[in-house]
C-alpha cells in the first residue's frame, strides 16, 4: 500500500513515501537542529516564512535541507476563496519548492480572504456540492501548475453555516474524489471541531478517504468550556493521543508530526513528545501488524 517511490505522477497510486515522525521547523530551533542533529525524521517548514529575498531564514533553511527531508506547509493559498488564484503566490511557492525539494506541499481546506485581502485566518467553507466543485477545480489548477499532487488539511472551526448540506468528512471526500488530491489529517483539529460542533470524531476519521491521508498533524489547544480554540501553544492532550491511536489503527502508518506555534519549548521537549507518537505507532503495530509499517529510511 505504501508507495515506495516519491513519484510526482498525478495518475499513479495516491500516496507518496512515508517519512516517519517529524516536527514543524521553528526559528527558535535552527541552531540546535544544525548543531545536534536531533532524532527527527523530517521537518515541516511554513512556506510563507521563506518567501523572502535572503538573510537568516533562507540561510538556515538551505543548511537544514542538507540534513533532513522537508515538506512545505502554507497558510495563504486560500484554495476555497472565490477570488482568482494568486498567480504570484503560486510562482513563489514553486520557486521555493525548486529550492528545498520538499517531499510534498500542503495547505488548508479553507479560504483566507476575498477581494485581494488576507484575513490571516483559516476560515470555514460551507459544506455544499457547489463549494466542493469550486474547490476541486482550483486544486486542479494548483496541482497542474506545481506538477504534483498537493495535500489539503482539515481546519479547526468555530462556526457552521446554515447552507451546509453535508458533514465535513463527506465534503472532504467529495473534494478528494473530484480533485484527486491528498489529505493532511489534523487529528487535533478533528477533536477541536468535533467538540465545537458536537459530532463524533471517530466518524470523521472513518469517513475520509483513508488511502489519501499522507500526513497527520498533532497539536495542543485551549478548552474554554463551551468551545475549544486551536492554539498550538500547549502539549497534545490524552484524548487527542487516543484519537491518533484510533486514526493510525485505521489508516496504517502515516507521516506524523507535532505543530507548536507559540509558547515554543526547548527542542528536546518536542522530540520527547514526538516519542509518544512513536510509542503509539509501535503499540498499534503490536496488535494490528497489517496497519502499521515502520518508516523506510529516507535520506
Amino acid at each position: 500500500m505504501t508507495q515506495t517511490n516519491n513519484s510526482q505522477s498525478l495518475t499513479s497510486q495516491p500516496k507518496l513515501a512515508n517519512l516517519g515522525f517529524g516536527l514543524g521547523l521553528r526559528t527558535e530551533h535552527y541552531q540546535e537542529i544544525l548543531n545536534n542533529k536531533p532524532a527527527i525524521d523530517w521537518l515541516e517548514l511554513l512556506s510563507e516564512n521563506y518567501m523572502v529575498a535572503g538573510g537568516k531564514p533562507l540561510h538556515f533553511l538551505d543548511k537544514i535541507c542538507e540534513n533532513y527531508p522537508v515538506v512545505m506547509h502554507g497558510v495563504s493559498l486560500s484554495i476555497g476563496s472565490t477570488s482568482t488564484i494568486d498567480k504570484d503566490y503560486l510562482r513563489d511557492l514553486r520557486h521555493l519548492a525548486d529550492r528545498v525539494q520538499p517531499a510534498w506541499i500542503s495547505d488548508h481546506l479553507c479560504w483566507t480572504g476575498v477581494h485581494g485581502q488576507n484575513m490571516h485566518d483559516l476560515l470555514p467553507l460551507p459544506y455544499t456540492e457547489e463549494t466542493a466543485k469550486h474547490v476541486a477545480e482550483r486544486i486542479g489548477i494548483v496541482q497542474d501548475y506545481l506538477g504534483r499532487k498537493i495535500l489539503l488539511e482539515n481546519v479547526s472551526s468555530y462556526a457552521s453555516y446554515v447552507d451546509s448540506t453535508m458533514t465535513e468528512w463527506e465534503f472532504i471526500s467529495l473534494i478528494c474524489e473530484q480533485a484527486d488530491c491528498l489529505l493532511l489529517l489534523d487529528v487535533n483539529n478533528i477533536y477541536v471541531s468535533s467538540y465545537n460542533h458536537q459530532f463524533d470524531a471517530k466518524a470523521f476519521i472513518d469517513g475520509v478517504p483513508q488511502n489519501r491521508v499522507q500526513q497527520i498533524h498533532l497539536a495542543g489547544h485551549h478548552n474554554h468550556g463551551d468551545y475549544i480554540i486551536d492554539t498550538h501553544d500547549t502539549p497534545v492532550i490524552d484524548p487527542v493521543w487516543d484519537l491518533y491511536e484510533y486514526a493510525i489503527s485505521r489508516l496504517g502508518q502515516v507521516s506524523t508530526m507535532i505543530e507548536r506555534d507559540a509558547n515554543i519549548p526547548p527542542l528536546a521537549e518536542l522530540v520527547q513528545e514526538l516519542d509518544i507518537a512513536r510509542k503509539i505507532a509501535e503499540k498499534v503495530q503490536a496488535y494490528n501488524p497489517s496497519a502499521v509499517r515502520l518508516p523506510r529510511h529516507i535520506k
Binding site: Q31, G54, G55, L58, G113, N118, M119, D121, L123, T128
Partner: protein, 261 residues
C-alpha cells in the same frame, strides 16, 4: 454573485467591521451550546489578536514605549485602517510610522521608533550580497577614482531621525533604563552584515552625522567619488574634501555597506 462569494464577502466585511455583520449572522447556525454571535465573535477576536501579535513581534520596543494598552489601541486602529493584502502577516506593519504620525502626533518618538524597528525587520531578510573589501579597492588605479561609483548592500536603509529613538531602543534592548526623550537630529543607518550565526538580531545600525548622511545619500543615488568630493568642498578645501570622502568610503567598506564598484 454566487452564494459562496456572497458568504465570503459578508464574512470578511464582518471581520473588518462588526457593525456590518448583522445580516451575515443569519448564515451561521445559532445553537444553544455557544450561539452564533459568540461563534462569530471568536473569529472577530482572533483576526485582531493574531495581527496584534504579529505587530508586537515586528515592533517589540514600540510596544514597550507605548505600554500594553496604548499599543493594543494603536494596533487595533491600525488593523481597521490597513486591512492586509499580504501573504504573510510579517509585512503588514509597513504603514505604522505614518499611522503613528497621524494618531500620536504629540508623541513623535513613537513614529520614529516604528520607523527604526521597521528598518531592522526589513534588513533581517533583505537580499543577500557579497561585500567589497579594502583589498578589492586597493587594486583600482588612482587616476580612475574620480569616476568610481558604489553599489550598496540591498539591506541598507537610511533613516533621518529627529529624536533619540535609537538610544532608547538600545537601552531597552540591554534591559537598561532608557534615557529621557530628547531631540538629537541624528540620522541612522540600518543594514545586515552577512549571516551572523550567533546574533539573534542580525541587523546592524549606527547613528551618523548629517554630513556623512548627505554623502552616503549622494553615493547611493549613483554619484561618483569625484562628485562626492565636489559636494564636500562646500565646507572644506579641495584637499580636505578628498581626504574626507576617502575616509567615508573606507568607513562604509569596513561597515560592510558596499557590495561592488
Amino acid at each position: 454573485m454566487s452564494n459562496l462569494e456572497q458568504i465570503q464577502t459578508d464574512f470578511q466585511a464582518f471581520l473588518i467591521d462588526e457593525t456590518k455583520g448583522a445580516a451575515f449572522k443569519s448564515r451561521i447556525i445559532d445553537d444553544a451550546k455557544v450561539g452564533a454571535a459568540k461563534r462569530l465573535g471568536i473569529y472577530y477576536d482572533a483576526y485582531r489578536f493574531r495581527i496584534i501579535e504579529a505587530l508586537a513581534t515586528v515592533y517589540p520596543k514600540l510596544h514597550v514605549v507605548l505600554g500594553n494598552d496604548l499599543f493594543d489601541k494603536t494596533a487595533r486602529s491600525y488593523i481597521d485602517q490597513n486591512p492586509s493584502t499580504y501573504r504573510n502577516m510579517r509585512w503588514m506593519g509597513g504603514n505604522m510610522q505614518a499611522h503613528l504620525q497621524q494618531t500620536l502626533p504629540q508623541y513623535p518618538i513613537a513614529a520614529e521608533m516604528a520607523a527604526f524597528e521597521w528598518g531592522l525587520s526589513l534588513a533581517f531578510d533583505a537580499e543577500d550580497a557579497s561585500i567589497l573589501t579594502l583589498t578589492d579597492l586597493a587594486e583600482v588605479p588612482l587616476e580612475t577614482w574620480a569616476d568610481l561609483k558604489f553599489v550598496f548592500h540591498p539591506s541598507l536603509h537610511l533613516l533621518p531621525l529627529q529624536w533619540n529613538a535609537v538610544q532608547i531602543w538600545n537601552a531597552l534592548d540591554k534591559e537598561e533604563t532608557p534615557p529621557a526623550i530628547a531631540k538629537t537630529n541624528e540620522p541612522c543607518l540600518i543594514w545586515r552584515i552577512g549571516i551572523d550565526l550567533h546574533s539573534g538580531l542580525n541587523s546592524h545600525f549606527r547613528s551618523l552625522e548629517a554630513a556623512e548622511f548627505s554623502a552616503i545619500q549622494l553615493a547611493i543615488s549613483g554619484a561618483s567619488f569625484g562628485v562626492l568630493c565636489e559636494q564636500l568642498q562646500d565646507n572644506l578645501s579641495e584637499e580636505q574634501a578628498t581626504i574626507q570622502a576617502a575616509q567615508y568610503v573606507s568607513t562604509w567598506l569596513n561597515d560592510g555597506l558596499i557590495t561592488r564598484i
